[in-house]
């Protein structure tokens, strides 16, 4: 078995700390790093998320959200749409609005072909962060990771109350003792992009090139 034991490495670290001068404070006060404490989280989120290249839509209630999503799907010229199985805001209305007609609505991709050929992926979110304009998604049995990744268009549904102010608030949702976060979590702040080719901005590199967020007020 290659490598060494945990004891070996930790022993080396302990020896180093004993003979060296590495030192740090007894405690740190994170609050000085807080950027957003209060205010209109929806407005801030909208501004930051737009700045990051996401398209933000407002819906008064679930049925308006469903109409919005149906329009987006149509604008995308979509034939195959993935929708996250799990409960999320306006899901039922959206599923209803998209059922029937030309669109194939899939909530459990049966194979790669379906997964990689879908045109739009519709998900809920676990939370959103106003400070950076980020969506927070957690993987789970009802929330596969790929739905917000493989299709070129991602539509995320977000309820107003899901928006927290600051990254520090996101962090505290992970505090030991709180409900376990599961296996995988992602913060999404914009469409996939790169500037690796001589600083030219190109979107939709590996992840979706278009991200829509529908904020449902009700």
């Amino acid at each position: 078995m290659p490598g060494v034991s945990r004891q070996h490495i930790l022993g080396r670290v302990r020896d180093a700390l004993q003979r060296g001068k590495a030192a740090g404070p007894d405690r740190v006060d994170h609050n000085s790093a807080r950027i957003v404490a209060d205010g209109d989280f929806v407005r801030r989120f909208t501004a930051m998320a737009s700045d990051a290249g996401m398209q933000i839509h407002q819906a008064a209630d679930a049925s308006q959200a469903a109409r919005l999503v149906a329009d987006l799907v149509q604008q995308a010229g979509a034939h195959r749409v993935l929708i996250e199985p799990g409960p999320f805001v306006a899901r039922d209305s959206i599923a209803e609005a998209l059922t029937g007609g030309d669109i194939e609505l899939v909530d459990e991709p049966s194979n790669d072909e379906v997964l990689f050929s879908a045109d739009v992926g519709i998900t809920g979110v676990h939370a959103a962060i106003a400070e950076t304009g980020s969506l927070m998604l957690r993987a789970g049995p009802q929330a596969p990771r790929m739905i917000s990744l493989t299709p070129p268009v991602h539509v995320a549904l977000l309820a107003c109350g899901q928006i927290v102010g600051d990254l520090l608030d996101w962090a505290s949702s992970h505090a030991p003792g709180k409900q376990p976060a599961g296996t995988y979590e992602i913060l999404i702040t914009g469409p996939s992009k790169t500037a690796d080719i001589e600083l030219n901005l190109v979107t939709g590199v590996h992840g979706p090139g278009e991200v829509h967020v529908v904020i449902v007020r009700d």
Binding site: H8, V13, S32, A33, A139, L149, D166, L167, Y184, V202
Partner: protein, 474 residues
């Protein structure tokens, strides 16, 4: 002074006009972006100081945190491996691949994997590692090394990339960046679909929750960490912080410092393999914790370099890096932090040129989100080298003489008198165009002024006797 490896490479680099233009654009864009975004923060200096404290605290408790991290990962169903050397780290990863029957491997950006030369080991074992970060992929196709921590292909023009993809992927020649990106995307998508194993680095690990955080803009990191059945994260042992709040503070600074964004597009947290009932995610999750010289550094005077979160801000700020680019350093870690890390991880004596290749301008320290005092540490490293007579006995004698001359006004005055006459002999119209020995390195490119006829220490007496507002006679 004979130019060693860096000197020669640097001299060649500054004459490469194409490279210079590319570097100038890239570094300035990122540097200006950084300044703009930091100005948005209510207290950028305060936040950087906090970030520095967070990293210092973590390093001072590194054994405790690594143990906690490992416990949490194992509890969640992951496996933790420990490597003292690069060789061990390579072998661990190759073995994991072997046991899983993995052949095709997709990788997202990891400087550590470059450092330990992982791709070579994988290839030697008959495996196929594919870099999926667009810049890394391009550089890999070109058979080159990355030249910048954040933008690996920053040294290549669109034309060069177009020719490369035409040749390697068989696409039509196009200089449209979108078309080029789409071509690469299509190829890499197939790799993601078929990959047996994913390997990533770790930006930061959180001990308290056993979370590994990786950040990307493209989305390749998401595929690498979620799609293949086996996911391996390789991590330098210093990349741990205690809490999620610590992580949040560093994330606030990371994207701002690196590329002038409020946040990278994707911030992944992996806490374990696929959970019960989940339909995607890796079945096997491994973390390889690598020492490779870091515990040595931790116990020495340069332990502060371990605070580094590899944001690349110092590269963008550095006047030397802006002129020579990453390859001149001939190291995985270029730029200001590289001038310290490379001698420390490699050999101080053999890399002694690097800590000298700095004008000590301090732009790096100003840019560093965790406030590593790079100029101070460079001077300390230079001191170590001189304690070992790096510059030779003649230089030592010359400096001793200099100190002697400057510890008495009479000797100082005499030496300045001699200097003036020496320069006068070489000067025309107050300027020297051709000085000998070391000074030729100056006059080869620009003029050197002659000294003033009367130095101030002689002028003072005249000034005293003048009316306060009369111009000083020359």
């Amino acid at each position: 002074m004979k130019p060693g490896r860096f000197g020669e490479q640097a001299s060649a680099a500054v004459q490469d006009q194409v490279l210079l233009r590319a570097l100038d654009r890239a570094t300035r864009r990122q540097h200006d972006g950084r300044k703009e975004l930091l100005a948005e923060l209510p207290d950028a200096l305060g936040m950087r100081t906090l970030a520095s404290e967070i990293r210092e605290r973590a390093l001072s408790r590194l054994d405790v945190l690594l143990a906690q991290l490992a416990d949490n990962i194992e509890h969640a169903g992951g496996s933790v491996h420990w490597a003292a050397t690069p060789e061990q780290a390579r072998q661990i990863v190759v073995d994991i691949a072997g046991q899983a029957g993995a052949k095709l491997i997709v990788k997202s950006k990891s400087m550590l994997s470059e450092e330990i030369e992982l791709n070579d080991a994988l290839a030697a074992a008959g495996l196929e590692p594919v870099e999926t970060d667009l810049g890394e992929y391009i550089v890999q196709l070109a058979g080159q090394k990355p030249s910048h921590i954040v933008g690996p292909a920053v040294h290549l023009t669109t034309g060069q990339i177009a020719r490369l993809l035409q040749e390697k992927l068989g696409i039509d020649y196009t200089e449209d960046p979108t078309a080029l990106t789409r071509a690469a995307r299509a190829v890499l998508r197939e790799k993601f679909r078929a990959a047996d194993m994913g390997i990533s680095g770790v930006n930061l690990a959180v001990a308290e929750t056993g979370a590994l955080c990786t950040v990307t803009n493209e989305g390749n990191g998401r595929f690498v960490t979620s799609r293949p059945p086996v996911y391996v994260a390789v991590m330098g042992m210093e990349k741990v912080v205690e809490s999620m709040a610590d992580l949040a503070v560093l994330l606030k600074l990371l994207a701002r410092s690196a590329t002038g964004q409020r946040s990278t597009v994707y911030t992944n947290l992996t806490m374990g393999p696929r959970g019960a009932g989940e339909t995607d995610g890796p079945r096997e999750f491994h973390l390889v914790i690598v020492d490779a010289g870091r515990s040595e550094i931790l116990g020495g005077p340069f332990w502060q370099v371990l605070k580094c979160i590899r944001c690349g801000a110092c590269l963008n700020a550095c006047p030397v890096y802006r002129k020579v680019g990453g390859h001149a350093y001939q190291s995985v870690y270029p730029g200001p932090i590289g001038k310290l890390l490379t001698p420390l991880l490699d050999s101080l004596r053999e890399r002694a040129e690097l800590p000298h290749a700095s004008s000590l301008c301090g732009a790096c320290f100003e840019a560093c989100p965790v406030r590593i005092d790079i100029p101070h540490l460079l001077i300390r490293m230079r001191r170590l080298l001189e304690d070992d007579r790096y510059s030779g006995h003649l230089a030592k004698m010359a400096v001793r003489m200099w100190a002697w001359m400057n510890t008495s006004q009479a000797r100082y005055a005499a030496s300045s008198w001699m200097g003036r006459h020496f320069l006068d002999a070489a000067a025309t119209d107050g300027w020297c165009r051709d000085l000998p020995l070391l000074a030729a390195n100056w006059t080869q490119y620009r003029d050197f002024p002659a000294m003033a006829e009367t130095p101030f220490h002689k002028l003072w007496n005249q000034l005293q006797s003048d009316d306060r507002s009369q111009p000083c006679p020359e």
